[in-house]
């Protein structure tokens, strides 16, 4: 850990505030019976898909610039895609992918 306790409390508080804002805002902005603008409804449909893409890239952000250029990550992601195609189980994909990565970093690279 690089932060002081106060800094980490502030960071967590910022995340809590943002999360609560996303949950409470609709109830504040649109009291029962009001019309919802079409752009809001549209963003609600497309953003979840785009944001997950951003999060995957966010996870790889440091690995891309290392000597291996995220090779273990890419192999493990390919393994997750394979597991997903075969079993369609999120739990299995997450565990399998993580174990694959751990084996690669501990024994191969």
């Amino acid at each position: 850990m690089t932060m002081t306790v106060t800094e980490s409390i502030i960071t967590i508080a910022a995340v809590v505030l943002a999360t609560m804002l996303t949950r409470f805002l609709p109830f504040i902005l649109f009291p029962a019976g009001s019309r919802i603008p079409s752009v809001v409804r549209y963003l609600g449909q497309v953003l979840p898909f785009a944001v997950i893409g951003l999060l995957v890239v966010y996870c790889l952000k440091d690995a891309v610039f290392t000597e291996l250029h995220a090779l273990p990550d890419v192999i493990s992601i390919a393994f997750i895609v394979l597991l997903h195609r075969l079993f369609h189980s999120m739990m299995l994909s997450v565990i399998g992918g993580t174990v694959c990565f751990m084996l690669l970093t501990q024994f191969v690279f």
Binding site: T11, V51, V56, V81
Partner: protein, 259 residues
């Protein structure tokens, strides 16, 4: 105390507990891994306990671990939180009436509206004799309980379980990758996912790992707004209707746009 033993409460609790069982399995195990991950990165169990209780949004809690390990930047944390959790806005919109009519319970219901709780409370069909606000509150509270207990158990047992955890941080990547794959299968419209991946990756190369998140969020949001007429199914349907209405009388327009 009497209200906890009333038949009305027992009935709602039985229904809520049954509905929440699949979530119990998922939340206990993902929560456990989350607590374990935080322990292996050197955090006290207080951190996963407080974060799982207060943030109570799975993916954002994993992202917050990274934020806590990065240089201090609360604004960045706040904006990332908004973006990652933006989907809640739309859960809220669809629950306006259902939660809005629950009196004092609505504050807790809105606070605890994570993906899984939303999916139960918005989708379930209840018999007439079950108190719906009470049922929804109990589902929210049970799921909240599963998640926090999982995280605390993971953090505490992390100290006891002894194995080489190097590489376990990949769990976050694995989680998001499999959510992406699940979402991919759920729709035929893959452009938002591809744009999210592509634009973020371009921004990562342009701005580097420390500074790419804000430009990436801006690029994703901006592109989505620009492409609304192409990506919005409602607008597409409207356009198709206009096109078929115009199709018959006019000859095809000749394109003259210079060059």
């Amino acid at each position: 105390m009497r209200s906890f033993c009333s038949p009305r409460f027992k009935k709602a609790f039985a229904a809520a507990f049954t509905c929440s069982l699949p979530i119990c399995a998922a939340f206990c195990s993902i929560g456990f891994s989350y607590g374990f991950l935080m322990h292996s990165l050197g955090f006290s169990w207080i951190y996963p306990a407080a974060m799982s209780f207060l943030i109570y949004a799975g993916s954002m809690e994993f992202v917050t671990i990274n934020l806590l390990l990065a240089p201090f930047s609360p604004l960045h944390a706040f904006l990332l939180g908004l973006m990652v959790n933006a989907r809640h806005l739309f859960y809220g919109i669809s629950m306006l009436e259902r939660y809005g009519s629950c009196g004092w319970k609505k504050y807790y219901l809105i606070f605890g509206m994570c993906d899984e709780t939303f999916s139960i409370n918005s989708g379930v069909k209840l018999p007439e004799d079950i108190d719906r606000p009470l049922f929804m509150t109990l589902v929210t509270a049970l799921n909240h309980c599963y998640w926090v207990s999982g995280a605390v158990a993971g953090a505490l047992l992390g100290a006891v379980i002894n194995f080489k955890a190097e590489g376990i941080e990949f769990m976050m990547t694995a989680l998001f990758t499999s959510i992406l794959l699940m979402q991919w299968d759920s729709t035929k419209e893959h452009r938002p996912a591809i744009l999210g991946l592509g634009l973020s990756f371009i921004c990562l190369l342009l701005f580097g790992p420390e500074n790419f998140v804000l430009p990436a969020m801006g690029a994703v949001l901006g592109t989505m707004l620009l492409l609304q007429s192409k990506l919005d199914p409602v607008k597409q349907a409207q356009r198709a209707a206009v096109q078929t209405a115009n199709a018959h009388p006019q000859p095809a327009p000749v394109l003259k746009e210079g060059r």
